[in-house]
């Protein structure tokens, strides 16, 4: 009976996990016109995987130098960059507001504020406590500048698409896929098979010409890889994945502890259960 119970419990658990995961996976995205999605192995997936700090830093550079001219990170403050697990975390500065890298980054942005003396609008350099300031004054301006399309917030983008990391990576790289006759793009639109419907109002962003920019190292001793299109795409995805799910490392380590704890508890309860029910056995 003992084995039977354990087996039944395991089957029940297995079925529950499998069916719910099945539901989750079945909702994956589809792609048009024979384009084969590149499925990269993202090293932060899996049970223990976490982000790579240097890749996130390079990814931030791509964001700041390319994507920033159109996209904001609505839900990020500069200080988040220096949080534990973040791209510019430094254990010498537990409080990210003191982190010099974070301070420098913040200062590169202009933040609209109010002059406390006379109430007039002023623009000042950012500080770590500021949120990333919006790129456009309002959606009307955003649409006006971008042919009527509004560049969406990127800070949750990787969570806001099915298989978001693959999605953004492929979106960056798929522009050179041949456009089928069935998709007609108007002016200001580009063909991209990763987008639903194949049309996107954003032109190709990561260009193959060498010298768009080169990765320079933020920390000493680092040997930055060559800034190829694939490398830049992978790095910006790493940064955006962190920005969409900044608690990933904390969550996974808490998960490991909880699982071990629950497993031990289950074993102890199993033994207690055996012992208590054994009282019902006839004494021999």
């Amino acid at each position: 009976m003992a084995l039977k119970t354990v087996r039944n419990l395991m089957i029940a658990g297995g079925v529950a996990v499998a069916s719910l995961t099945g539901i989750a996976i079945a909702s994956g995205g589809s792609v048009a016109d024979g384009y084969e999605m590149v499925h990269k192995h993202w090293h932060w997936s899996g049970v223990t995987g976490t982000y790579d700090q240097e890749a996130m830093q390079r990814g931030y550079n791509v964001y700041a130098q390319v994507c920033r001219s159109c996209h904001n990170l609505d839900h990020l403050a500069f200080r988040h960059l220096g949080d534990k697990g973040g791209p510019f975390y430094d254990e010498r500065y537990e409080n990210p507001n003191d982190n010099p890298l974070v301070k420098n980054i913040a200062a590169e942005y202009e933040v609209i504020d109010v002059n406390p003396e006379d109430g007039s609008e002023i623009s000042r350099p950012g500080i770590p406590a500021d949120m990333f300031p919006p790129v456009y004054r309002n959606t009307a301006e955003a649409a006006y500048v971008n042919n009527g399309a509004i560049p969406p917030d990127l800070s949750v983008m990787v969570k806001a698409r099915n298989n978001g990391a693959d999605y953004v990576y492929n979106l960056m790289l798929a522009y050179d896929h041949p456009q089928p006759d069935s998709v007609v793009t108007s002016s200001g639109q580009y063909y991209n098979p990763v987008m639903e419907g194949g049309k996107i109002a954003m032109g190709p962003q990561l260009q193959p010409q060498v010298g768009v920019f080169e990765y320079q190292s933020e920390t000493e001793g680092q040997n930055p890889p060559e800034a190829t299109v694939e490398q830049m795409a992978a790095d910006v995805v790493e940064f955006l994945a962190w920005s969409a799910d900044p608690k990933l490392a904390e969550r996974k380590s808490a998960g490991m502890m909880s699982m071990v704890y629950l497993l031990i508890l289950a074993l102890l309860l199993w033994l207690s259960y055996k012992r208590i029910w054994a009282r019902l056995k006839p004494k021999t």
Partner: protein
């Protein structure tokens, strides 16, 4: 079964209290409640559901301290909870994953009742209370899902409240009254939040009644034969407390797996896009636990007929005790009904699948999801309205053991009851 209370107050203070409010007696009677000794793990979901409710209320109250019910801030406030509130990421995913786990458990619990005939006399009221809880749970989850104000929140609320507009004559005013305006907007979000906060406590109250009713009739059991002799039952504590705790722990492991490793996998990516009333998402799909009902809703072309069917799908559960004419509770002894039951479960999954897909798409062999959902809907209603009523009259049930004790003696793999005047704790 509620028999005589065996509680005896040990101290004067306890006696004083017992004469005024016998609350300790109530707890003691719960602990000593005679419980059929042959219950299997399908009977542990009741305890698991209690835990789910507590988890939802606890995590929800904490979320409520940080959440802002306003169309301009709701989405951002959930992001803030996930990013800036200490352990907010844990509370938010516990609540969101917890809703799925709640429904997983309640479906197990309901299927258990359907298979073992737990809805039959004398447990009709217990069953109806359960159906009410399920109804309020669905309302709560629907209301809660609008709160994060993502695209699916907004469009899900728009689609579902839109169905009220199809009610003849009063439809339009009913819809406006529900929404507090002409469309889903800030007024809607505010009232949905208010009701989402209220309904879990209604569930808690209904659960109290549900358990009260349980203690009057006692638990059903896998063979469906009422307990008759003393050796048929065991005191709830420690035999079933320990068994429930084991099951709860295994359940928590599944919960933790999703919570820590796939926290957003059970939701929709679209709901992490802020609601935009001007941009309809290409596929509006409810959460997985509503998919079968969504499929029934879309199984007919007429909007009103769809709503009636969907309401009927739940209403039929309420009258089930009077639809099933068989006097045998457990399907173990109903050789034909058992197979119809398994097909019923299968059809529920088919309906869920149809609910997730676009009706016009091809399911298999040229059969569209639309047609498939019609077949499954017919079976769903047929099971309750035709198969169970008729089968009860024509089916020849297998011979049932005279008592629980007898059934255990017949199957050598359980502890033998003769030696067992269960030692109480």
């Amino acid at each position: 079964m509620s028999g005589h209370s065996t509680y005896e107050p040990k101290w004067a203070a306890a006696r004083w209290m017992d004469q005024r409010l016998p609350i300790v007696r109530m707890g003691a009677d719960f602990m000593t409640m005679p419980t059929p000794r042959n219950l299997n793990y399908w009977w542990t979901f009741g305890g698991i559901l209690m835990l789910c409710l507590i988890v939802q209320i606890a995590s929800g109250v904490i979320l409520g301290m940080h959440y802002v019910a306003h169309v301009d801030y709701a989405f951002d406030s959930v992001q803030r909870i996930r990013r800036d509130v200490p352990y907010g990421w844990l509370m938010q995913s516990t609540h969101a994953v917890g809703a799925s786990m709640f429904f997983l458990a309640v479906y197990m619990h309901i299927f258990r009742a359907l298979y073992y005939g737990s809805y039959k006399a004398p447990r009709e009221v217990l069953w109806i209370l359960g159906c009410l809880i399920y109804l309020v749970m669905m309302a709560t989850a629907f209301l809660g899902y609008t709160l994060p104000w993502g695209q699916m929140s907004f469009w899900g609320a728009t689609v579902i409240t839109g169905f009220f507009g199809a009610v003849p004559v009063v439809g339009e005013s009913l819809q406006q009254w529900l929404l507090g305006g002409y469309a889903v907007d800030n007024a809607t979000l505010n009232r949905f939040y208010s009701l989402h906060y209220l309904l879990p406590f209604v569930i808690a109250a209904l659960s109290g009644l549900h358990i009260w009713a349980l203690h009057v009739t006692g638990s059903n059991n896998p063979i469906g034969v009422s307990d008759k002799v003393k050796t048929d039952t065991l005191p709830f504590h420690p035999y079933f407390t320990v068994k429930d705790m084991l099951a709860v722990t295994v359940f928590l492991m599944i919960f933790a797996f999703f919570l820590f490793y796939l926290p957003d996998a059970l939701g929709h990516a679209d709901n992490l896009i802020k609601a935009d009333p001007l941009k309809t998402p290409p596929h509006i799909v409810p959460e997985w636990y509503f998919l079968p009902f969504y499929a029934i809703l879309r199984a007919v072309p007429d909007k009103l007929a769809g709503i009636l069917l969907m309401v009927g799908a739940i209403a039929v559960l309420f009258v089930l005790p009077w639809l099933d004419t068989s006097r045998v509770r457990s399907m173990r002894f109903r050789p034909i009904a058992r197979w119809f039951f398994f097909i019923f479960i299968f059809m529920c999954f088919i309906l869920g699948w149809c609910g997730a897909e676009t009706p016009d798409d091809n399911a298999f062999l040229g059969l569209s999801f639309y047609r498939l959902s019609q077949i499954a809907t017919i079976y769903y209603f047929g099971y309750f309205l035709v198969i169970l009523p008729i089968l009860g009259l024509v089916e020849n049930p297998e011979e049932r053991p005279a008592s629980i004790t007898q059934s255990i003696l017949d199957h050598g793999d359980k502890p033998k009851p003769e030696a067992v005047q269960a030692p109480a704790e």
